[in-house]
């Protein structure tokens, strides 16, 4: 962790998140434009702080990763949950690892992004209790600063600082009015169009021209189960189908097999290189969705 100095106080900065996905980002051009339009700001108004709203798995986080990549800015993610306190938003303390030092200050991802001029993304903001969000008020309006009681400092946002939050559909009303009124525009992320979802699947599959049959099976399975597939559902389904194919190729699906992670990559990554058949897709669907809903 890097160190930042505030008025002779040394504090540790949060680490930016480096998205690892090697797959090409597909579609969502309108939503990308909407966030960029919000972040552009104007001479009379500071940049807006958009709120992404959508069902789980539709690609809210992936959109933010893509924005960070295109903007070439560091991305600092704050994961929302019920136990977040107001001060967690600004600065925390921890027992120090350094000899002779009892405590370390650790800047939150939000304040690190403000200080460094990166993007702060609060994921699942709807899960944070309203009182814990109080400090956000001054960050999201024209003041663009945050007061940390623990640190005894007021941190002003770097001009490059941008903010975005995401929440699942249905949790927006749990946001307090003072935050909801500052999180504008509200960008709704529905399920992607069929062509986009198919392009995502094609990007994750090594099947090439035979992908058509797999896609047909994919849509038939979801159609029969009356379930609308999200991009996450599709990616997981084809990853598992690839693993099943891998297991089948190794011939050890009857005797059981040992899980092997080579070079940090899970075994199914190799499975994707083999040709998956509709039967693998069907079996993967049964395991992932049919049993879950039974």
């Amino acid at each position: 962790m890097e160190t930042i100095t505030f008025n002779a106080k040394k504090v540790l900065a949060s680490e930016p998140y480096q998205p690892r996905s090697s797959f090409e980002f597909v579609g969502r051009l309108q939503q990308l434009k909407m966030v960029v339009a919000a972040w552009m700001g104007s001479a009379r108004h500071p940049p807006l702080s958009p709120l992404l709203v959508g069902d789980p798995g539709v690609g809210k986080n992936r959109l933010v990763y893509e924005l960070a990549r295109r903007a070439n800015l560091d991305l600092y993610i704050f994961q929302g949950h019920e136990d977040v306190t107001a001060e967690d938003m600004a600065c925390m303390v921890r027992f120090s690892d350094e000899a002779g030092k009892s405590m370390d200050y650790v800047l939150s991802p939000l304040v690190t992004a403000m200080q460094r001029g990166g993007i702060c993304f609060i994921d699942e903001i709807g899960k944070i209790r309203p009182r814990a969000l109080a400090l956000l008020a001054s960050v999201l309006d024209e003041r663009r600063y945050i007061d940390s009681t623990l640190l005894g400092e007021r941190i002003h946002a770097h001009p490059r600082f941008r903010f975005i939050a995401a929440t699942n559909t249905g949790e927006t009303s749990s946001l307090p009015e003072f935050v909801r009124s500052r999180l504008r525009p509200v960008i709704e992320m529905g399920h992607p169009p069929k062509e986009e979802l198919e392009a995502i699947i094609a990007g994750h599959s090594a099947n090439g021209p035979e992908i058509e049959k797999l896609l047909e099976t994919f849509w038939d399975l979801f159609g029969e189960s009356k379930r609308t597939p999200s991009p996450r559902d599709a990616v997981h389904l084809f990853a598992l189908a690839g693993s099943l194919r891998q297991v089948e190729a190794n011939g050890n699906h009857r005797e059981g097999f040992s899980i092997c992670f080579e070079g940090g990559a899970p075994a199914f990554a190799q499975g994707n290189q083999l040709t998956v058949t509709p039967a693998h897709v069907t079996e993967a669907f049964q395991q992932l969705f049919a049993r879950a809903s039974a």
Partner: protein, 748 residues
Amino acid sequence: MIARLSFENSELVAVPAVHGHSIFAEQVNRACQDEANRPDAIAVELSHDAVAAVGSWMKELGATQGIHLPCMLGLVKPNNRIHPRHRDAAVRLQETHRLPLNEIPLEVLNEKLNYTSTSLLCLSATDSIIEAIRMGVELDVPVFGVDLGDVANAERQPSLIPDPFGERTSDFGVPDAAHSDRVIDGRREWTMAARLKRILQQHRRVLFTCGLGHWSELRRLLNDRGVKPALDSSRSEGESFTRIVVSPSIALRQMDVFPDITGLYELRRKLPPTDANRKIDYAALAEEKVRVAMEAIDGKERYLGAAFADYMANLGLLNQRRAPDLFLMLHAAHAVISPAFAELLGQKLVFEACAWATPENHSGLPHLREWPADGRKDEHRGGAQRVRLHSDKGTSASFFLSHRGDNSATCIAGALPQLSDPESDSNRGKPTRFYSWVWPPCETLLFGTAYEGAQLAAGKSRELRPEPFAGALHAGVDIKATLRAAVRGEKRIHVKVSSPSPCVWEGGGENDEPAVFLFENESSADNGYWETMLTCYASDVRRLVRDKARYDAVAEKHGEDFIASVTLSTDRTPPATLRAHVTGLKLLYGTVLFGNPCLNPRQAAQWLEASDYARCPILRRHSMGNLCDYYRHAHGIVIERSRWTSTLLQLALPYARKCVMVLHVPGYRIAPNVAREAAQRNIRLETIPLSRFPRQRIETIRNQYLVRPIDVDAMEYAPELAKAFGESATAHLNILPEHIRAQLEAHA
């Protein structure tokens, strides 16, 4: 913006256009009004039959006398073709369904083969093609339709194309145009080029207008000596068109950036070509719209005005627009201010901006309207619009529509706020099914199940539950709970406590409580549409209540549409044995019942009067959009329509006294925000899984058959109905509580 191509003895004056935009229509008009260089023939990117249909209708409408075109009329025709790209899929589909393509549901054909059964051509005054035909009619110049008629929908990706004139073509930037689909567009362009060459052999000066996306290839083909003139300048393919009135939410796709430009254009097209006032100042118009929008912002939300304007301007820049259009503005209103504001703005900019044509003032022409009417869009269905035709004879089944000259690629597709069409005046208070009633045994079983659910909930709440000891022993020490706590490391004694008094869900009169049925999971109701179901006609309520002065006061203050229930459902085809007896069949996904059953107008009136009109929403004009507005203003509840299960629960809360019965599919969990809202209102949500009831019963109550009674008070039904259903209209009354049965007996 006008391209001129010279041939041996003739000249082609071409206006490549963005469909629906008045700038291009004005160019066509200007070229035709130029007396010195007036074309002696006009050609357009439409089929021969389409041009003939539009031309003859224009003559009937009085185009030769220079009257304004009503906004919006249209022509629909059936589509016969499927894109060749889907040939294999079409074969597989027939194998899977064991049916020929024409018997496979349209929904499946649209989803699997991108097939739309119907094509719409709007008589949009601001479209260059319509203007060209109109000028032909006005000036008595022959108009040729040089395009093919019977072709499959082209499949194009929206993208930017180079401006063929090397400059910006309009005040609002170079628009998105369509990538060509070589399979479909290639054949069309080749035909158009050959036919144009034929017309150019016969006429000295030809005016031609087509979509901007076709022009580069057409110009190449026109200059290619290898493309020979066609034998015919155009040819009938036997297409048949139906005349219709088009509702605003559909017509917008074939109109200019704001609908009121149509009216402005109608006035200015008559001015001399040299008149400076002919040009519409788009930038000033957009500024005016922004001003209207800013003024419409509610006082509480005014602080968002600057953010709204900036966001809109930035989004315009990113979409290569110098000024916002309607869709962009409505999106910004929805995203930055609120969905309710976007709806209000939509009303102002769309419905109040134009005198929209209605079936009443066009000899009862069928009315094409979006379906579902509340603007819910199907997931994964691309850009096809789902619509229905309404006429005196009834309502057609829903079908998918493709637009001839769709300009929606230029808008923020997929991000549009809800834009529901208002009911036309003649349909006001008479929704399609209003003459029909739900077959009483279906309704009786539905309410009876809710009453039984309440009894189960009461039994459940009588059970004792453990709570940490806090001074009172209640029903004694709970040994097991205390031991379990000790294992967890808690040193606390637990006692047995009885639950709060059970939910007294009685229904009827003053004791009514709402009930919510959730027959499906959140994700399983793909094709559902919302309906607000009235108790009965307002006139019937007034006729049947005792205190008419009180009724009039309520009606004056709140309106006359008393909502008995709200449903999310989908249409089903009734079984063959019942088809002759019923007017429709709905499969319920979920519903909220506001209290008393309303099996007939007498019962409805009795309930409304007994409860002093306070136990159900009352609207001036019932629709889901208006209902959501009503909740926002009257109850401070922002209805979340993206989660239908929560919507139904939210709708129930303000009309509950102590509790709401929730009968749900197994595994359903109440959303935290709804639970919180209920707690704030001190309302208990009593949940009972539907698995506690026989599956057969649940299937029966979900299927709501719509039937017509033989008297105005819906007290009697034809005997054939009872025979067809195998039960009388009074079946299952025994499961209703005594006081409800007493209501019905009083009316008998």
